[in-house]
């Protein structure tokens, strides 16, 4: 057993932490708030140049990493600073699906992703699908030259910035059937595809998408017809690893901020960190964050395991992360008092971003139930 980082990963972690610390200044953050895309193109370019995007892909796909521990390391660092860059959507989901399923022509886009010149979004969830990956009502009807897409997609994160959008649709089967789901790779400006964009509570941008008679050629299909679910499950498992590691980084940042505050804020003539009522709660928070760290390590170590074993860890980790996230958010705001309720103070953004983790890829209840099916019942 060895829980240390390899030398390469240690270098990546040090470099990334330094870069993000320099890049995320109050000025760059307020520029992001004003920007339409929900993130900073300059910071994104910097991440690409450092090789951070490449670290999320295996060598066969033009990267130099792609293992569970690479993903965990990168996303924990992003979380620590509260970064809003769409690494998860462009690289893990979009890039991951392209690398796994793409034809030679489609796979070539992975290079553009790694270079930082292409953004992607996965349009899979629908207004009533909630967290169920099989629930797809958007249809892809065969036409003489390809397909016609009709349907609606919900909360498509990073769609407003995406050059290409991966859309899931039914080529066969009933609404909730595992078989019959296919993926399509579309330029974002394809006629008939419309976006309604909006900001998200934890930062970044998303869109509601309407597909109204969108005509595409056969070459737009990504992967085999009817059989995309397995690839979607793999991509989602990796996304859950990424967002869980990001949550861990957010928790660490919040813990540090709260500990500092308890040491400096004085009431009744002494730092409030000297009140035992608060000390014990910080200690509880620390214990739970260490649990979260171990859960992320468990998942990172099993991300390439056979699906049943992998998914046991996916659901265990996502469930635990959701529970700890709620505790960390609520306790940190409480122990800050009024200042913790303000938009201006750094905690606000971190707490909101951490809260939103439970709303992507299944919440604590969803994964509790899935864990029961996979490992308990």
């Amino acid at each position: 057993m060895n829980f240390d980082l390899t030398d390469e990963r240690q270098m990546l972690q040090d470099g990334l932490r330094r870069y993000l610390g320099d890049a995320y200044t109050p000025a760059s953050v307020s520029a992001i708030d004003a920007a339409e895309r929900g993130f900073s193109p300059a910071i994104w370019q910097g991440l690409a140049e450092m090789g951070v995007i490449g670290a999320l892909f295996g060598e066969g796909d033009g990267g130099f990493g792609g293992a569970g521990f690479d993903i965990a390391l990168v996303f924990e660092e992003m979380g620590r600073i509260g970064a809003v860059d769409p690494l998860l959507d462009t690289a893990i989901l979009g890039g991951g699906l392209l690398a796994a399923l793409g034809t030679d022509a489609q796979v070539s886009s992975v290079r553009d992703v790694i270079d930082g010149t292409m953004h992607l979004a996965l349009a899979h969830g629908e207004p009533t699908s909630r967290y169920d990956l099989t629930r797809v009502t958007t249809t892809a009807q065969k036409t003489p030259t390809g397909y016609r897409l009709d349907g609606r997609k919900a909360v498509v994160v990073n769609a407003p910035a995406a050059d290409m959008i991966i859309v899931s649709a039914r080529t066969n089967g009933n609404m909730a059937e595992a078989n019959g789901i296919s993926l399509f790779l579309l330029p974002a400006d394809t006629p008939g595809l419309t976006l309604r964009s909006y900001p998200m509570a934890g930062g970044g941008q998303a869109a509601e998408i309407v597909l109204d008679g969108v005509e595409i050629g056969n070459a737009a299909r990504l992967g085999p017809e009817n059989a995309a679910l397995g690839a979607l499950e793999t991509a989602t498992a990796r996304a859950i690893l990424a967002i869980s590691a990001e949550a861990l980084g957010l928790m660490e940042a919040i813990r540090a901020l709260t500990t500092d505050y308890l040491k400096t804020r004085k009431q009744f003539g002494k730092p409030i960190g000297q009140f035992q009522a608060l000390q014990h709660r910080m200690a509880d928070m620390l214990i739970e964050i260490e649990q979260a760290r171990s859960a992320v390590i468990n998942l990172a170590g099993h991300i390439d395991a056979p699906a049943a074993l992998r998914d046991t860890h996916v659901s265990a980790t996502k469930n635990l992360i959701g529970i700890v996230a709620k505790q960390v958010v609520e306790e940190s705001i409480q122990m800050h008092g009024g200042i913790g309720m303000t938009q201006e103070y750094a905690l606000g953004h971190l707490a909101k971003r951490l809260t939103m983790v439970d709303h992507r890829f299944g919440d604590t209840t969803h994964h509790l139930e899935r864990f029961i099916t996979l490992a308990v019942a």
Partner: protein, 398 residues
């Protein structure tokens, strides 16, 4: 022991219910149901409707233009208000300052300010907290120095709720540096339009400018605006806090929130079935409902004691903690119930004049904002930690 209302109490409840049905404008209850931010005009409209009926000041004696209701009647009224999705009564003039003036104010102050509160001529805000004086309220540093017939006020207040609407603020100020900190505090009424008063909004995590900072730079305040005696303000401040803590349990809010949560959980579908049929999610709702059922009886036990002439003391700390924890858990479950549609940051949909179609279902748009905003419940009005200290000292005598 009898858990039901008396005939009289039931008749009163029916009367209040009928009044709400007839006089509460749908334009207001719609906003409340959707969690939209109410404007100053909305609040003033509802106050005027209640005032016309003589029901605006539920906790004032008849002699001052109030209803003279006992605690059970007040409880029934609050309960019916929330059931009907009425706007809450803005507490600063009615629930906070009014009782202080009635007990400690001069005849002139009572005659001048109390009718103005009822008629909506003044909008009061509460100037207790300062950057350095939160839980430790006795450490206020805003100073008031006597200069002829005036006080000169210098300093800063913060977290002033809805101060942007207010023309008057009641403040705790330091008038003496002698003795214990509690002994040099005075209770002063300050005109916010006076020269030297500036106000700056603070945006909260839900994106709303609900609170403010208020700065005083050599503000002249007539000595006639001192309430009671100089340096005795701490007594009045504490008296006010006991009134601030009436209806602290928020049973009505919790019930309305729980109903809303269940409605959403019936509409949302998870794996093809209504979310409410998911046993794991239903179990979480059940837990909070069971807690609420017991807590509302705890609340009535405390309330009915007060009705018989005993003031609820440290018990109200218990209600505050349990009540806020329950409401916050309902908010958390509501956020979870709406699923991915908790993510859009839809502040524009929460404010006046926006006709923007909501993103996702209408019931989703306020869920995250309300969850975040109601973290305040366990912080203000004496934080839950402060309440625990009160319980352990005053009830347990530890």
């Amino acid at each position: 022991m009898d858990l039901s209302y008396t005939d009289e109490e039931r008749a009163f409840r029916d009367e209040v219910r009928a009044f709400m049905a007839e006089h509460l404008p749908a334009s207001l209850s719609d906003k409340v149901k959707r969690g939209q931010t109410l404007t100053k005009a909305d609040h003033e409209k509802w106050h005027a409707i209640l005032n016309a009926k003589g029901w605006l000041a539920g906790n004032w004696p008849v002699a001052f233009g109030g209803t003279g209701w006992n605690a059970v009647q007040r409880h029934i009224f609050d309960d019916e208000m929330t059931k009907a999705s009425a706007p809450r009564i803005v507490p600063f003039g009615l629930a906070m300052l009014g009782p202080v003036l009635q007990k400690f104010g001069s005849k002139e102050q009572q005659d001048y300010y109390l009718p103005r509160i009822l008629n909506g001529d003044d909008w009061w805000c509460q100037g207790y907290s300062e950057p350095g004086a939160g839980s430790d309220l006795a450490s206020v540093r805003t100073t008031a120095e006597r200069d002829g017939d005036d006080y000169i006020v210098n300093g800063q207040k913060t977290w002033t709720t809805l101060g942007q609407h207010a023309n008057m603020i009641f403040c705790l100020v330091r008038s003496s540096k002698e003795g214990k900190p509690q002994e040099g505090i005075s209770f002063l009424l300050i005109d916010m339009t006076a020269p030297g008063v500036t106000i700056r909004p603070i945006v909260l995590i839900d994106g709303e400018p609900e609170v403010n900072e208020v700065f005083f730079d050599a503000v002249r305040v007539p000595a006639a605006n001192l309430v009671g005696e100089e340096n005795k303000g701490w007594t009045y401040a504490k008296y006010l806090l006991t009134h601030e803590r009436t209806n602290i349990a928020g049973v009505g809010f919790a019930r309305a929130g729980l109903e809303n949560l269940k409605r959403i959980a019936r509409l949302e579908r998870a794996d093809g079935k209504p979310l409410i049929q998911n046993p794991h999610f239903a179990a979480r709702i059940a837990r909070v409902e069971i807690d609420l059922m017991a807590m509302s009886t705890t609340n009535l036990r405390v309330v009915s004691k007060a009705a018989a002439g005993q003031a609820p003391g440290a018990e109200s700390s218990m209600l505050k903690i349990k009540g806020t924890v329950i409401r916050q858990e309902i908010n958390a479950l509501t956020r979870n119930a709406v699923g991915p549609y908790a993510m859009p940051f839809a502040s524009e949909g929460l404010t006046e004049g926006s006709n923007a179609e909501p993103i996702g279902p209408d019931y989703a748009r306020a869920a995250t904002a309300q969850y975040l905003n109601n973290r305040k419940l366990s912080i203000y009005g004496g934080s839950n930690e402060v309440q625990r200290t009160i319980i352990s000292k005053a009830i347990l005598e530890l």
